[in-house]
Point group: C2
DNA sequence: AGTTCTTGCACCATCGATTGTGCAAACAAG
DNA sequence: CTTGTTTGCACAATCGATGGTGCAAGAACT
């Protein structure tokens, strides 16, 4: 389809047309012409030829020669989630503003996939790699290291290069406290009425759980082990955990700390099978923000991670000369129920 | 950071190590060695050397020579939205299964951005481009055409190459009818109690509106013009429209057809400023599916577009020899309130 | 032994852009 | 008018992989 097109113009074509050498054309079009003392008039001629012939440089050729591609990679666990897709959206804006081209790829939380995907990106000579939410950041690190590729971790930390992550401990604390306070007015929550569901044995989950337990101890005076249910990230596993609890107790816990919006989807799947009224007394805290979730028929307190802040910080840190493998914490934000926040989309104009 | 790495091995390195010529190494490693009658033992040697030295081909070099990159592009309006991010997720899976590398980029619904972004992708010699939800598909077409790049439209149709889109007319009909039927039990809806908000003058909106009006006429016997409020896609514009209506009438219409989940966010923003109780009698139909929206405190009927179906069809059509610029309609699905559907994520394993 | 195949590989141009180097022409200085 | 400088550009190597072509050594055949 659409293969009628004449081949794209190259510097050689413009060289012939302008009567200059290819190197002159190249210099003019990539901005180094002053350094090469090309006459303004020559440059002007070449520029206008480039314009009329719709010349654009072949990036593969340029990249091959200069061993830089202009591509900056973002490795995500998944696309299909508001948190990660807003990560992609924000990342893209930053990369574009630097005049480079974003390449966003997901690796399904699979350590093997992650490494292979990094390999693939490297084979395209990407210039930098942002590793977001990787299950095995240090594994990806090795691949990058071997290729001499600048990289940085986001969302989940690694030990070899800097990491920019949410302050999950503080976030966990804030969210837990907000759930508990939500009850105080009437009948206060008991320690075994507040459960945490979702997440697995990763840094983020551990920190959130640590915050959760700390606050439970401080405010409720106890923190039973069985209230922690790390069911992984799959919605269906979370659903099964809720079903199991419901089966056993005839109801859900009154207070629920859900580790991510993906796990929250598991809760929805559970709820789909039960009447609304069963959840009258429920308060949910979710470690993620989704505008629709915020308006559900029970109070949903959410944490919005500062995606813009993380990305900005990550770009700062990755430019540093000798970045230390330390962890940079970014504060998340507590979002009260029924709150519709603006997001990266609001920066876009709506062309009607 | 991480720049200690020795440079990546090339076929020249392996050539020296193996005592064979670079072309032999190349042939062995890209699979054409049988055709070149390379001895099995030579191939074996080279393969093992490649293994131990972690050789991976430089794709820029390969792409430059063969004028194919192995990259397949997807041009989206935005990332930060369940519909488009599941598009990205699904697209990625398809591309990966073909052994190629997906490159997903967004262009903010801006015709100019769209063309420039396509240009950029072309400069990386991508092999195919999927144009999804473009404001000006034919503009992008011209850019692709000039570069001899295979491309196809998704979600919003163009006139120059094939398009794979939702059957928005049918979807609009289904959704409208579902909203109306939702009321019949008690007090039936009047024609001026069912409004459509959101969307702009694009093919999808027009078709949905056409379906909306047709069903209103059929079932309610009338279809006043003022019930159509195409406020564009920005959440805040939708919010303002709701505010304006509320200001004027002291309430919202009982039945609401919201053109997309993004517009729905505008409704949420409006609702954030008003007590829950104001919306007791409300039924919302939303042309998009979001699991959280499906469980809101008022009935939300949703349309789920068949993303998997569209992507699959698009891959079929783009491979055709001489694809005609026709429109392929994919049927969407009506989703009743309080329904938590599975999505592309459920295909992933959860490594605990 | 001489001729013809076949096997197994090496050589080299090529893709398009970048960049270090060289060198004529124009100009200035003495 | 000779010698040095500056201006303005051309030349050619290079990045890494691909693929057409050529050719020596051994096998097969007469």
């Amino acid at each position: 389809m659409a293969s009628s097109g004449k081949k794209k113009a190259t510097i050689y074509d413009l060289s012939v047309l302008s009567g200059s050498s290819p190197s002159t054309v190249s210099a003019v079009l990539n901005g180094t012409w002053q350094k090469r003392r090309i006459k303004e008039s020559t440059a002007e001629l070449i520029r206008s030829l480039a314009e009329t012939h719709q010349y654009t440089a072949n990036r593969q050729a340029r990249g091959l020669r200069s061993s830089r591609s202009g591509l900056i990679g973002l490795l995500l666990p998944i696309h299909d989630n508001r948190y990660f897709s807003s990560m992609a959206q924000t990342f893209e804006a930053h990369v574009r503003s630097k005049g480079q081209c974003p390449i966003v790829v997901s690796a399904s939380r699979d350590p093997d996939e992650e490494r292979k995907t990094a390999e693939t990106l490297i084979s395209y000579s990407i210039d930098e790699l942002f590793i977001c939410g990787a299950t095995d950041p240090d594994g990806v690190h090795e691949v990058c290291e071997a290729a001499g590729l600048k990289h940085i971790n986001i969302d989940l930390p690694g030990s070899k290069v800097p990491s920019v992550i949410s302050d999950n401990y503080e976030g966990g604390r804030m969210l837990t406290e907000a759930i508990i306070r939500r009850f105080e007015a009437d009948r206060p929550l008991l320690p075994d009425e507040l459960y945490l569901f979702g997440g697995r044995n990763d840094h983020a989950s551990r920190e959130r759980i640590r915050g959760f337990r700390a606050v439970k101890n401080e405010l409720l005076g106890a923190d039973p082990d069985e209230c922690i249910q790390p069911t992984g990230y799959a919605p269906n596993n979370a659903r099964l955990a809720f079903e199991a609890f419901y089966e056993k107790h005839g109801r859900l816990p009154r207070g629920l700390f859900v580790n991510s919006s993906i796990n929250f989807e598991g809760l929805l799947r559970f709820m789909a099978g039960h009447p609304h009224e069963n959840f009258a007394d429920l308060v949910v805290g979710c470690y993620d923000y989704d505008p629709f979730a915020s308006f559900l028929p029970f109070p949903v307190i959410m944490i919005r991670q500062d995606v813009e802040g993380m990305i900005t910080k990550a770009f700062e840190v990755i430019e540093e000369a000798r970045p230390q493998p330390r962890i940079h914490l970014i504060q998340p934000e507590l979002v009260q129920p029924r709150t519709a926040l603006t997001g990266p989309l609001d920066a876009l104009k709506d062309i009607e």
